[in-house]
Structures are given as structure tokens and as C-alpha cells.
Symmetry: C2
Subunit: 340 residues, 2 copies
Amino acid sequence: MKNWLNSDLKDNDIVITTRIRLARNIKGIPFPDKLSDDEGRDVVKKIKDTLIVSNDGKENFTCIDLWKNDNNCNAEYLEKHLISKKLIENYNRSAFILNKDETISVMVNEEDHLRLQAITAGLNLEEAYECIDRIDDKIEENLDYAFDEKIGYLTACPTNIGTGMRASVMIHLPALSMNNEMPRILNALSQIGITIRGLWGEGSKAIGSLYQISNQITLGMSENDIISNLKTVVEQIINQENLSREQLMKKYKYELEDKIARSLGILKNSVILDSNECLNLISNVRMGVEIGIINDISKKSLNNLLVNTQRATLQEIYNKELSKKEENIKRALYVRENLR
Amino acid sequence: MKNWLNSDLKDNDIVITTRIRLARNIKGIPFPDKLSDDEGRDVVKKIKDTLIVSNDGKENFTCIDLWKNDNNCNAEYLEKHLISKKLIENYNRSAFILNKDETISVMVNEEDHLRLQAITAGLNLEEAYECIDRIDDKIEENLDYAFDEKIGYLTACPTNIGTGMRASVMIHLPALSMNNEMPRILNALSQIGITIRGLWGEGSKAIGSLYQISNQITLGMSENDIISNLKTVVEQIINQENLSREQLMKKYKYELEDKIARSLGILKNSVILDSNECLNLISNVRMGVEIGIINDISKKSLNNLLVNTQRATLQEIYNKELSKKEENIKRALYVRENLR
């Protein structure tokens, strides 16, 4: 699997990442929300030990205990999409285990005892599933999962019960957004058990035309069916997006070029830049790269901007607690320096 | 005198041009609006002949008869501020006489038979007056002006009677505009007989923070008093503008730098650019040059953009009748190419 931040996707690839997550719990231990901090940390230790035993030496795992970090450090992992808000909420008893190229992240004591995640660049559902399934099998050899023969894996929230699997794809849909087609698509997909959310997960708005498309149903379907279902839907949406782009370029060639060129001009020149505007400008430039209007900027550098212009990461880069205004100034500075 | 388009003003000079105009009429001939086209062209011939006789050989005059030009050509002279809309309205019987470096323009059969104008770069009221006064004297040696001993020069419109003089200064006031101080200033000045108008004269809005400040009163004051009055007022306004800029830079340093830098970014990158936005962006960049934030762009190139991004001039440059959309595309192209 390729780390999405370091891999240079093809210019016309509008899927940014693929992510598969499996929710698992240890038999006989209450779900994380019912645990005291000490009990939670015991679970962390148990899982750490198991993973070391289970690991065939292939993966170079690091375990990060959230209670040992400062807030900003944990927020940075969130901004990289390696951990969730919920894991941070439980920081007194939560941890996560990361492989070296940050394509595997195992959250401990999020909503469930284990959230096994594989994250890879582009549209690669099968590859991501194979990877996380292998790790899941290894762990299961050494740990008793809460499992029911009829239902499947038991989880804290009933929406995850069964396979415990959430497969999701982060995709860039600027043309469908501009054409206001997203509400129609969202409505259609919800009827077939597929969800679309914004960049930062549940409840977040779709800023920068970035969407996460994922399966809603985890019960009564096999993992392979979930994946092939989602893949079909994503491929259809890719086609619709590409069609919309072609139509836009046919009808509004100059307007689109203007929007893209101005966005790049503003990114290269602004002195104050707030997070949402930044994401929207990056989206326009990304579309410029994807449709071949911009040729001297890589997807990789845009992905890096996406992550590194977030608040906590900026604070880490500039090694300083930033006020809102300072944050916007540093963001503009970072973007200017990294687009030159 | 220096042609304002070719002279490179000091960076901190916020006055762009000084203009003095004298309204004169020939004794015994009705005002232009009462003339037939043939009678009007007789006046043009009379004035041409007089100017050639009066000219001491110093000035290399060219006479342009408006009825011989196409509309776009005349519109171009308007955009260069060499002639007025009224002169173009009378195109069937109007003409203008221009010296080589376009600092003197004598309009024939505008509202009056003669409108003698001197146009120079920066704040140079005395120099401009001396120049146009010398030409006026020379003409008067060979032509009987309509003149009343008590009142002074007689003009078609009573607002010009007396000296027939309008002294005006084109000035760049972005900080006073941003601070919404212009209505207050406009009101105060009108009470002392001074008018402020937008870039394109009477009734025009102040786009791009460019204003023309001129005397309203032509009667009962000497030419020198009018000039020294106006000069005092303009110097006060310059002080107020500079004070406003300092305050803005103190209170909103980053916001101001952001506005200026983004404006330059948009000018260098846009693909569609309408006239008003262009003027406003040029104004922001001009302020950047004036306060020393931008160091690699000359006032001269900004003045050229000011004139050459106007519709008729663009049509001349690209040698083509342009639709509104094409005009905005060519304007963006011209700006991009000339700011690189």
C-alpha cells in the first residue's frame, strides 16, 4: 500500500484515498465507554502485546499512548486522518498503533476496543481490505474477539455490528459540487445504503469539494459484497464527475480557467488565508491539475498542503501556539513557500 | 511638461495627472451647439489656421478631425483623457489639435469653440497653467475671443464664464476610500467651491479610488488664485490620505498586505477580467507600490494598464471588434502579459 501523502497519483485520478476499517472488541471486557482509565490502559497493554506477538515481523509498529501526548500532538494525528475525534475524547485510556509508512493505524479504545484501519492512495479497496484482513486474522489467532455465530462481530454501536467494516473513499468532486448535483447524488446513495460525508467525517460539511463515500450497512452482507458494491458506486460517481467536468469545460471554458488560475494566484500571493478558503482554493487548483490546465504542480504537493495547512500541523511546523489570526498568516506563508 | 503615461512618477506621488483647461469662444460666431456641421467645420479650419500662425514652431501640432475617424478611434482618445464625451457627440463638426507628446490638446467645438488643455504628470498646476496660458496668448494675438471687460471670457455654459478655467488633479485615494471618508471630504470641499468627481468626469463613479479634484468657481477669481486655492486643497487631501495609509498600516498591516498581494496575484493570473474589477485591482497594486510593499512594478506600467485596458484601446491593440466577453478575456490577457 502507498501512503497517500507521499504517493504521486496520476493527474486524472480523482480518488485521493481508500480506507478500510474493522471494528473489533475483546470478549468478556466491557466496551471502552464503560471502562475506567486504568481498565482502559490494561486493554491498551493487552492489544499492544497481542500485536507484537501477532506481527510476523513484516510491520514496524509504533504504539502511541494518547495520555502521554500534548493536545496539539494528538490533533496533528487527527489532521492526518490517522485517528478520530472520538479517540482523542478518550485520550486518558486510548492509544493507537501505527506502521512505519502510516498506511496501517490501529486505534485502541475508540468506540470499540479495536479499530483496525488500512489507508492507501487512490482507489484500492481490494488491496486495503487484504492488508487489514491479514492483520485481523493474525490478531484473532491470539485474542478472543466478541463474536456471535449468527450476527458476526459485536460492536459498541449497532450500526457497526456484523462485519464491523466501514470501507470509504475520499474523492474530489468539484464539478458535481459546482453544478449543485451533490444533494441529488447524496439522496440516491442513501437509498442503497451508501453515505457521503465531508472531509472530516460525520456531520462535517464538504469543504474543498472533498467527500468521503462509505458503506452504511455492515450487517447481512459479506465483506467482499460491501467492497464490490462501494466500488461500483464510486466508479459511477467518477464517471458522473468526469462528465460534469467535460460539460463545464465545453460551456464555461474561460470561466473555469479563470477560477482555477485565480485560485492559484491567490494561493501563491495571499498573506492571510483561513482554513476553509484554503481548502476551496486547493480544490480549484487540484481540478486544474486533474483536467490538465495546470501542469507544474503535483498532486503530492496539494495533498501535503491539505494536511499541513491544518491548525495543529501548522502549530507543529512553526513550533508555536498560534492565535486564530496568526494561524491564518502562517497558513498563507506556508502555502506561498510551498507553491514556489 | 511630462506625458503622464510615459513619465515614471516617484513611488510615493499619489497625484497622477494635473490638467488645466481654458474655455474660449470666437467673437461673433454662435456657440458650437448652434452651428450646422458646415459652419462648425469652418470654425475648425479657422482655429487650425490660427494655431499654425500662432505657433512659434515650438510645438509639433497634429489636427484630428473627428468626422474622419471611426468611432473606436475617437473612443481611444477619450480613454486617454485627451478629449471628452461631448466632443465625440459633436463629431460631425468637432476636431482636436494635439502636440507630439500629448501634453497639449485643443478641442474644437466641444461645448465652446476652443477648449485649450494642458495635461502633465504629477502635481504641477503652475507649470501646466504657464504652458496653456502661453498658447492662449499666442492665439489671442490672432483671433478675437468673445470677451467682456467686466465679466471676462464668455462661454456656452455660465459655469465656465469669467476665467473659463478648470484646473483639475487626478489623485489616487485608496485609504480615504477604504475608510469611507470620501463623502465627508466631498461635502466639505463643495462648500468652498471645489468638486470631486470619478475617473471619467462628471457623474462618473469613483472606480479604482481615482478622483478628479477641480475648481467649481471660474468667475470673480484670478487664474492664479484658482490655482493656489486648488493646490492648497490638494496638498491637504494628500496629507489626509497619507495619514489614513499610516493608520491602516498600523492597525491592519496584514489585512492591507493581503489585499495588495492578492490583487497582484489576480491581475497576474486571471483569465476573465471586467473593467471595474481591473481598475480596483490596479488601485490596490498602486497603493502597494506607493507604500513600498511592491517594489518590482513601476507607476508607469500601472498608468499604461489604466489606459490600455479600456475597451476601445483593447480593440485597437487586438485589432478586432470585441464582444463584452471577449473584451474581458483580452483585458485579462493584456494585463497578464504586461505584468510578467
